[in-house]
């Protein structure tokens, strides 16, 4: 009996959360709950309210305001009135309130609600900060800690209540639709709180290895952490693997593939819900709202599973943990450098040579270590064409070692590099690109495994 909702003439689904007042008026007018005269009165009251707010905005400073600034204040006012209207139990009651209450009064109520929401959001944020997932993902750390703090610093509920100013880069598993301002931030923090609470059931090492299964450089990627963790956990329960370690294997993927093949969306969702019930008995899922959040996530994951089954890419969804630290490593030393005097003489000799063949002969005759070769490539003022010719004389391990030290960078990334370093990095890239595909793959593997020392 708790969930009985009052029947409303206005369909709640049709209302826009961000532009609530406008959508409410449109719906109400369409259903003849209000008249054109009501609309005109509300519009006029809103403009009167705007005039008051602009006066407050300008102070004694100015009597006029730029039109775009005034429009922004108007949007903020309408948003605040919308917040006030959302507090009514049904959309019909909100329309009634619009008819009976002055816009200024609704605005004042909304403003009070925003203050309360701001306090709630701050409390939520400190709770989130105490329950952060221990991860190196920069987007997660920057947004959840720094970004939200920035929001609280610059949020202006008086004149820009509808703005959030920050970009909230870290994506949520269940995206927030049609909310703005403090409402968006509050919902965002609630979602992060549920996601964190779920992820904290697993060790940070296991989450790290699971995400390495997606990409070893996941720390720099814009990805949601909770989604692969939940997917893997559900996969583990369904496949009977160790859910505490998120330990999915190739065999369990094959099992999942055969189990889910040919099933409809609803059937797969039922399988996942059943797995989730089992998961609840293993991990504490606190509160109805968190449970609801996870169920919504599962519905989204189900849709992704359907697509992955069709594309045969289930392994991209149910990640298998990867352990980069266990991969074999190749150690390569650049060797000792010759004494400075001899080196100077060789560089001068090379720079005085007219022909490329003479330069290469000198290099072959005197250069004995890769450390010296690297210096020559950088100091002897060789053109790109000459650098390429020298690179052709080197063995593949030497090319791999140099490529590891001078990876190819875009113009923007290479802005801090010296001119010769930029030429060397570009030549190495061009040289590798000119090799047969097989050799390129071998080199790329070697570069990954290399651990260079100087």
């Amino acid at each position: 009996m708790e969930n009985i909702e009052k029947i409303s003439v206005i369909n709640k689904e049709k209302l826009n959360g961000e532009f609530y007042l406008q959508s409410l008026l449109e719906e109400a007018l369409g259903l003849r709950l209000i008249t054109d005269a009501d609309i005109e009165r509300i519009q006029y009251e809103c403009l009167e309210l705007l005039a008051n707010r602009v006066e407050r905005y300008n102070g004694d400073h100015s009597s006029s305001i730029r039109a775009e600034a005034a429009q922004s204040i108007m949007t903020s006012n309408l948003y605040t009135i919308g917040i006030s209207l959302k507090s009514y139990s049904s959309a019909d009651d909100a329309v009634k309130a619009l008819q009976e209450t002055k816009a200024a009064e609704l605005y004042a109520n909304g403003r009070k609600r925003i203050d309360t929401m701001l306090k709630t959001a701050k409390a939520l944020h400190s709770k989130v900060l105490n329950n952060m997932v221990d991860t190196g993902n920069v987007f997660y750390n920057e947004t959840v800690a720094g970004g939200i703090k920035g929001f609280f610093k610059i949020y202006d509920p008086d004149f820009e209540a509808h703005e959030i100013h920050i970009t909230a880069d870290y994506p949520l598993c269940n995206p927030i639709k049609s909310l703005a301002g403090i409402e968006f931030i509050q919902k965002y923090l609630e979602s992060i709180l549920y996601e964190n609470a779920f992820c904290r059931n697993f060790s940070s090492d296991d989450i790290h290895h699971l995400l390495c299964g997606h990409d070893e450089a996941y720390q720099e990627l814009l990805l949601n952490i909770y989604e692969p963790v939940l997917t893997a956990a559900i996969g583990c329960v369904v496949a009977g693997e160790d859910v505490r370690r998120l330990n999915l294997t190739e065999t369990s993927l094959l099992f999942l593939n055969s189990l889910l093949k040919g099933k409809s969306k609803d059937q797969i969702y039922t399988v996942f819900l059943k797995a989730f019930d089992e998961l609840k008995s293993i991990f504490p899922i606190t509160g109805n709202l968190q449970e609801q959040y996870i169920k919504t996530s599962l519905r989204m994951i189900t849709s992704k599973v359907i697509v992955a089954m069709e594309l045969q890419t289930l392994d991209k969804l149910f990640l298998i943990a990867s352990y980069p630290e266990n991969k074999p490593k190749l150690y390569f030393s650049f060797g000792d450098k010759m004494d400075n005097k001899s080196y100077r003489e060789i560089v001068e000799e090379i720079m005085q040579c007219r022909h490329l063949s003479d330069k290469i002969t000198i290099i072959k005759e005197h250069i004995r270590s890769l450390a010296d070769m690297e210096d020559i490539l950088l100091d002897a003022e060789l053109s790109a064409h000459e650098v390429l010719a020298v690179l052709r004389e080197l063995d593949q391990p030497e090319i791999a070692a140099l490529s590891k030290k001078y990876p190819f960078k875009s113009d923007l990334e290479a802005i801090d590099l010296k001119e010769q370093e930029r030429i060397l990095s570009k030549c190495l890239y061009d040289f590798i690109a000119s090799l047969p595909e097989e050799q390129q793959a071998g080199l790329s593997k070697a570069i990954d495994m290399l651990d260079i020392s100087f």
């Binding site: 007042l21 406008q22 959508s23 008026l25 449109e26 007018l29 609309i39 519009q43 006029y44 809103c46 403009l47 705007l50 005039a51 602009v54 006066e55 004694d60 400073h61 100015s62 009597s63 006029s64 305001i65 730029r66 039109a67 775009e68 005034a70 429009q71 108007m74 309408l78």
Partner: protein, 164 residues
């Protein structure tokens, strides 16, 4: 649902502005200056056009009465050019309100206009708009002191080395 600020009914605001300007006649009578109701209406129209052209809106009576009270004692304003000067000052005011990025208050901008009009411009509205206010806005935007002038600097340099 339209909540366009352009829909704002300007008639009330205009009425308020007209009343405020007509009241100024008592104040300007000592200087032999007065505006008829028709002239006042034209001034209010000019204000509307200037606001529109500069992408601004105004909810109160506006600044026309402030301009009148500031400029009425100017030696360069008489009955013959009073109305025309006011039209141009109003247009200038809103244009430079934008050009100064709203960094200066209405009162300070009007005071600067008056000082420059009576001083270096010697009653020339062209010099006021094209030189003094332009330099003033540039200095404000650039963060210089309002009286800063590149020309003065060049002159100073010239004096010091004696080449000019």
């Amino acid at each position: 649902m339209g909540f366009d600020i352009a829909l704002f009914d300007q008639s009330l605001v205009q009425k308020q502005a007209v009343n405020e300007i007509i009241k100024c006649n008592d104040f300007t009578a000592d200087y032999g200056l007065a505006l008829t109701t028709a002239q006042v209406l034209e001034l209010v129209e000019t204000r509307g056009r200037a606001l529109n052209a500069n992408g601004r809106i105004e909810f109160g009576g506006g600044v026309i009465d402030k301009v009148i009270k500031e400029f009425c004692d100017s030696p360069y304003i008489s009955t013959y050019n009073y109305e025309q000067t006011l039209h141009e000052l109003i247009e200038m005011f809103y244009y430079y309100k934008n050009e100064t990025l709203d960094l200066i208050s209405d009162d300070d901008l009007i005071k600067f206009m008056k000082t420059a009009f009576d001083g270096t411009c010697q009653g020339s509205l062209e010099l006021l708009a094209g030189r003094e206010l332009d330099r003033f806005a540039r200095n404000l935007r650039g963060g210089y002191v309002c009286s800063f002038s590149e020309d003065d600097n060049y002159e100073d340099e010239g004096d010091s080395d004696g080449k000019y």
